[in-house]
Symmetry: C2
Subunit: 350 residues, 2 copies
């Protein structure tokens, strides 16, 4: 039989952060596509009554200030409220409900509705990072988990193209960080080092999954990526456990690498690349202190759905929902394609 | 403070099959929608060169027979092949790859491309179930897991509206059934009974999440449902562990309840309701024997994305991907809405 080639032969890969496997079927790239295509993201018309704009009046009658940088306000339709009564104690192990308290905020990145991260300046993105840190500091004092996330593009359920993210803080540790906490803790107990610090060390040696790098950060396609062009942003120095641990140089360099990565994303298919992205660091709450979670490494996660073009996405459906995520191109192939993309945005070329 | 009302107050619910939690935020139903809407599923034009039709020639040059009931053939672009070389043994715990062998088949339900399950007769659906059992018997002898699943509708990545499903068999136990196997085994060890048998007993008493029931089966919205109108099909007698355990009466009654449930789904928003669905039973393989997995109960799972109308779906994006699934209406509200839907299909009314 032939020798194994990752770019030719299906195999499964292990995600040590989630304790899950991914099916990689690179030979499947050859299949033609005749399924659903999305409206090209570029075509979203700007809404003249956009409630996120500086000076606009929102659904609840409140008027936004004429902000010039970032602007944070409470989500008008929050999934989590601060005060709710507690559900009764469950009387059956199969019918368990428990209290959930929290708060949801919206954060605008920029007053201009046509702006996006790759088109903003490093200074403007640094202002976004500084505000994220303020929010984390305030909400992290009261809440166990503060999830900052951006849904970008209509295909990712984003109902407004104005550059913005959401911040959902909760009294409970949600599934994804709960599993990550456990996996990183187990690795630390076993090897005496942080899982992601060890992982990054290997990636910097192997180099084949790195997309772009600067003085403080690396953007790479993880070995266990599920989405076609999924990436992680990892800090190369000081091992910050939470976003609140970043120093000035790390903040500015983070803005720089976000701009670089998102520029490459946009250049890949010549469109404003849709994704969901967000930040994961050690859990927060009143009992937590800086430096208390050496098993954690703060990092960013980009989960973009596009597979072949600006309009053809990967569907995580039947097999993926009921059995296991499956991907077509290998993480190494994805990293190479992104590496080859220009660092000058296609809109800034003419 | 007020007393707790599940339909008013956010809370989290535990899914004992996945060892995961769901955030339920029913007050969020009140929010307006201004995001992406899907093309109404009804508008998919029938393709005259449809490769799944009886007598059609497929991409690889092979001609389908003039089949009159079901028809199974190997997927022309399979994610899993039967023979592939083995990846080298991993030399680092964070870079683990492993062999994956398998096969992918496509199964047409009916020769008519405009047919769907709710419009087919109980006899025609029984033929589908019989063929599923044949496939499971054959592939289950060689493979650890045989995932039968249907992606229905363009919004669920289905590239062809012809009524069909897929069958992916693998040498490995994928994530979802692996976790279900563990959770059911642990419950069985602790309580000496099958998790889903116990669960169903409670649901039949409480009644509030039941959608429809016949002599052998119950369709219900699970207490821990993540998707708005997610349902499970559970057998009420004999505790079958795999689909191959079903007796004649259970097969015909399964066809009947599938038709009933899918008719209600279509009537909910007056459209051909999109979903991914599939079957889970005890793992298979050469060492497995009927009756060897008393911790398992065979069941069906429907995961439909629609939330508010034929064109507005629930997006499982940022918060859901990075933190935890979140739903708006409660499972009890979803069950009630489906219960109220007619059992006569809207297309058969004029
Ligand atoms: O084989 P199909 O129907 O073209 O493919 C569809 O179902 C597969 C299994 O869930 C997914 O991996 C694909 O992303 C989806 O488009
Ligand atoms: O941006 P919105 O309107 O709050 O909502 C979007 O993101 C939320 C958090 O990921 C999801 O729960 C919604 O399904 C999605 O449409």
């Amino acid at each position: 039989m032939q020798t194994f080639e990752a770019t030719e032969h299906q195999h499964v890969r292990y995600n040590p952060l989630k304790d899950e496997w991914i099916l990689v079927s690179p030979h499947r790239c050859k299949r033609p596509w005749s399924g659903q295509t999305e409206q090209a993201p570029e075509e979203q018309p700007p809404d003249p009554n956009n409630p996120l704009k500086a000076g606009a009046t929102r659904a609840n009658g409140q008027k936004n200030p004429n902000y010039t940088s970032t602007y944070v306000f409470p989500n008008d339709f929050p999934a989590l409220l601060e005060r709710v009564p507690e559900p009764p104690t469950p009387d059956h192990p199969l019918f368990q409900a428990s209290q959930a308290k929290g708060t949801c905020r919206v954060m605008c990145f920029h007053p201009d509705s046509t702006m996006t991260i790759p088109l903003m300046s490093v200074q403007e993105i640094t202002a976004v990072i500084n505000e994220w840190i303020n929010q984390l500091e305030e909400l992290g004092r009261r809440y166990t988990w503060v999830q900052i996330f951006e849904n970008k593009g209509a295909v990712m359920g984003c109902s407004n193209p104005h550059p913005h993210c959401q911040i959902w803080a909760s009294s409970f540790l949600p599934n994804e960080p709960r599993v990550k906490e456990r996996c990183q803790r187990e690795y630390y107990t076993k090897f005496g080092k942080s899982l992601l610090v060890d992982y990054l060390e290997q990636e910097l040696k192997q180099k084949e999954r790195i997309v772009v790098q600067n003085s403080e950060w690396v953007a790479l396609v993880p070995y266990w990526a599920a989405w076609p062009y999924e990436t992680m942003l990892l800090p190369t120095r000081n091992n910050p456990q939470r976003m609140t641990d970043l120093n000035e140089s790390q903040k500015v360099a983070l803005a720089d690498i976000m701009k670089l990565l998102c520029t490459k994303y946009d250049n890949l298919f010549n469109c404003s690349f849709p994704y969901s992205m967000g930040w994961h660091g050690a859990p927060t709450g009143s009992s937590k202190k800086p430096g208390d979670s050496p098993h954690w490494l703060f990092h960013g996660i980009y989960l973009p759905p596009l597979l072949r073009s600006a309009t053809v996405k990967k569907f995580m459906v039947g097999y993926e929902m009921l059995a296991q995520p499956q991907r077509d191109l290998t993480p190494e192939q994805a990293a190479q394609k992104l590496r080859e993309c220009d660092v000058v945005h296609y809109k800034n070329k003419k």
